[in-house]
């Protein structure tokens, strides 16, 4: 299991043990993290699972691919350098301890 922390728009923190291979979006929705909409179900087609990655593990997250970069242009909240779509980040040992701050608005 890979432990990560979500911080929802109200500031509430949730520590989640994620099965390797699951996406951060799946971990968030399966654990009731508020603020993630994930309308498209994880196919990188809606930009409503927008998070900001923080903490020492953020630099270990693999870089966004073209499809994610295109969708990140469509996020409603501020697009920052650490903006990511949580459906595109998979649980793996190197991101242990990652902090994901859920964007304050998704759509």
């Amino acid at each position: 299991m890979v432990q990560v922390t979500f911080i929802d728009p109200a500031g509430h923190e949730t520590n989640v043990d994620v099965r390797p291979g699951w996406s951060m979006m799946q971990a968030a929705t399966a654990n009731g993290v508020k603020g993630i909409e994930a309308e498209c179900g994880g196919s990188c087609a809606c930009a409503t699972c927008h998070c900001y990655v923080e903490g020492p593990a953020a630099s270990a997250v693999p870089a966004a691919q073209d499809m994610e970069l295109a969708m990140l242009d469509m996020v409603v909240a501020e697009h920052k350098p650490n903006s990511r779509l949580s459906c595109q980040i998979k649980a793996a040992p190197e991101i242990e301890g990652l902090i994901l701050r859920v964007a304050e608005v998704q759509s």
Binding site: G21, W22, E39, C40, G41, S43, C46, M74
Partner: protein, 423 residues
Amino acid sequence: MSAFCGIEGLVLSSVRPVITIAAVGGAKEASTGRARMFKFDPYSPEVDADPFEAYRTLREEYPCFWSPEANMWVLSRYEDIVTALSDWQTYSSAKGNLMTELPGRAGATLGTTDPPRHDRLRALVQQAFIRRNLEVLSEPIRDIARTTAGALAGRSTFEYVSEFSSKFTVRVLFATLGLPIGNEQEVRDKAVTMVQSDPVTRAKGPEHIAAYNWMQEYASKVIADRRLNPQNDLISHFSTAEIDGDRLDEREVLLTTTTLIMAGIESLGGFMAMLAYNLSGLPEVQAAVVAGPELIPDAIEESLRFNTSAQRFRRNLQRDVELHGQTMKAGDFVCLAYGSGNRDERQFSNADVYDLERRPKGHLGFGGSVHACLGTAIARLAAKIAMEEFHLVFPKYSRVHEKLDWMPSSTFRSPLKLELAVH
């Protein structure tokens, strides 16, 4: 539990669960050495009518189950299904995703390819299905809904599937794709027939194959026309697209177009029938969404969880997988029972209760991960507008019959007919 809910046992048909005492043999039986008294046959009319008791047995007693009738493993727990959806390298779609696949289709559509080929196809069509690019369709869809519902005004009873949802979905698809008007009913009938399967032979029958071939012919004429007379629409774009100088091959264009037509009519129609089925059996929920149309999106999400029309899809294993004490072998097919994962108490509390206030996230009503339904946004938009307009004409309605005839399909579940009485 909220005020707006219903217990499954009260609202579903009276068909009893499909648990039979049977000695079931087969290769996997020998390999596991377990005598089984339970069978799960996705081709049986009993499962078409009510799979939920069988799903419960699968989840609780046989979470990794070999079904000789389906000739595949069945995964029924939410966690196992999400894990499989997340791992397309192991659980491949390239040998088909429909439980009973159509000939020649695997490998040429979005749902039947793996990345990176899948991503290449998806990149071509995805833009057209993103929510903000669909807003322009809202008013045309509303006009269609208003006209279709309005034509039924004054009736005391009507058949929802043929007289409302089918007419609505086929008109929406024709408007969206700019298809020539005239044979909508025929296109609809073929789309519905091609997804069905024969419960006796456990395969596609001649009528299903004929419908599929007819649809391919129809799609090929549309594609030829768009190439001659390109318009600013999805099929024109798709049929002439090149990526990095690499044009889609004819089979990809043809079968993806065929699948878009099938999904646009059958899948949306099936879902709308399930939504109306739920609302017509849950008077409190119905009254709440009629009084507060802003609650319709919540009803849509809970219906997708509670009673999705896309019940089961399949994958093909690319390596051996150990799960719940069983060994699934490379090459085996695996059924992902979305309809069961959506009722898994480990994920959804009071899962057999329709709760309008649940607002479920992460449900499997559209599948998930790379192969999540392409049409999530248009399906939600069209279903919402349809019910808003439907409720303006029919603010109170109920089912005429409790026992319904269900579509014979190993993949999808929806009633063939839904007679409604107006109050």
